[in-house]
Amino acid sequence: MLNRILGPLRGAWKEATDSQIWSSIFRHGKPVSNRNRALVMMSNVFLHLHPVKSRKAGIKLRYTWCMGGITFFLFLALTFTGLLLMFYYRPTVEYAYADIVDLQEHVPLGIMRELHRWGAHAMVITVWLHMLRVFMTGSYKPPREFNWGIGVVLLVLTLLLSFTGYLLPWDQLAIWAITVGSNMARATPLLGTEGPLSASLTLGDINLINSGNDARFALLGARSVGQPTLLRFYVLHCVGLPLIAAFLMAVHFWRVRKDGGISGPL
């Protein structure tokens, strides 16, 4: 019975892998030798970011928790669901909240927004757990210090993505959370109107840093949370931050390979 089902499947598979289309895409033999297995990793634009070889102990689930992989998976899932949400969501004061409600009530299933929301919460958690794991296994030590640094920036980007996305539903929770959160930017050294040293930036009697040109204003596009803020956060959330994150992720994965593979003693 086994062979009756698998036999034709194997035949079709063999036919496909012997075709010219297949050999034009995969320019190496089947991964049955160590050389071909290495070629699989190196001749593929996605896989070449991975280490060619990994120690079995280094990829054990109870060692890595797969937290980096889960974080990346969640990033992809959030990109996909976010793209679908962009078909319906309009980042204007007039429509934003109504569109979010419509996404739950006017669209079949109505869970796309929940997937995005819960996925985002999960990503913040997994990215912290990933950091914890890397710390506990000492994987930040040389030669992996640089990648630890990249990872910290990616952590901050994840939090910023979470922060900017928080405003988009444009409900009371969102508006006041961003009001409170962005108030911290007032205390930026030099560039925040209430921050240390900013009072020393004067030209005669004129204060160079005021509430109309400090860091908080750059964030909000206004003196208080309003339409310009919604648009800024939307563009950052959907385009700016994901682009930077994707770029740094490529560097992050590439360095995993260059720094001796998924962590473990070198």
Binding site: L2, N3, L6, R10, V32, L84, F87, Y88, D102, H106, V107, P108, L109, M112
Partner: protein, 212 residues
Amino acid sequence: MSENPERPPAASGSSGSSGAAPAKRTPTERTPVGPKIAGAKRAAPKKTGAKQVSRREFPFLIVGWSVFTAAMAMGLTAVGRFLFPNVLTEPPSTFKAGFPDDFSIGVVDTRFKERYQVWIVRDEEKIYALSTICTHLGCTPNWLEAESKFKCPCHGSGFYATGINFEGPAPRPLERVGVSLADDGQLLIDKSRLFKFEASQWEDPASFLALT
């Protein structure tokens, strides 16, 4: 058959309480099974070189891939359905356009062009409604009062107030839409019904409101 005499003592020794069962499970059925599996296991890798799936793994493979395929199919269905909302914000295809007396003879009424994409025209004996979609490539012509014609800005097609084309690339007249009288005496315009001149559908009484 030569094995039979040897086997019964062993079978009865293992399960002496049930006398009928050993007779049914004849040793000739059982013994060949072992060598068959062993032979298949040894021979198959030589033939294909591919990794062999064991009998124990097989059900898990089937169930696993079935669940995966089902999940992907459901996900794709949900995503496909997501693109088609349950609620539209478009104006309805049927609407009331006021009373027949609101329209004057020989005037092309452009009030409903923006929202409903129809012109309503009254002549001596009837009221009819023209679709504002140019029959060339679907642009929206303008009613030029001074020249008494519809002129399409895209490629210059021209239509009379009746909808008949007379200049430019448009291959056929503008289409008319359904006109009837609602219960309250207002005009009821039904954009879901289209009437083509070239198909002689303009004579259909549903395409105009006769004024006697």
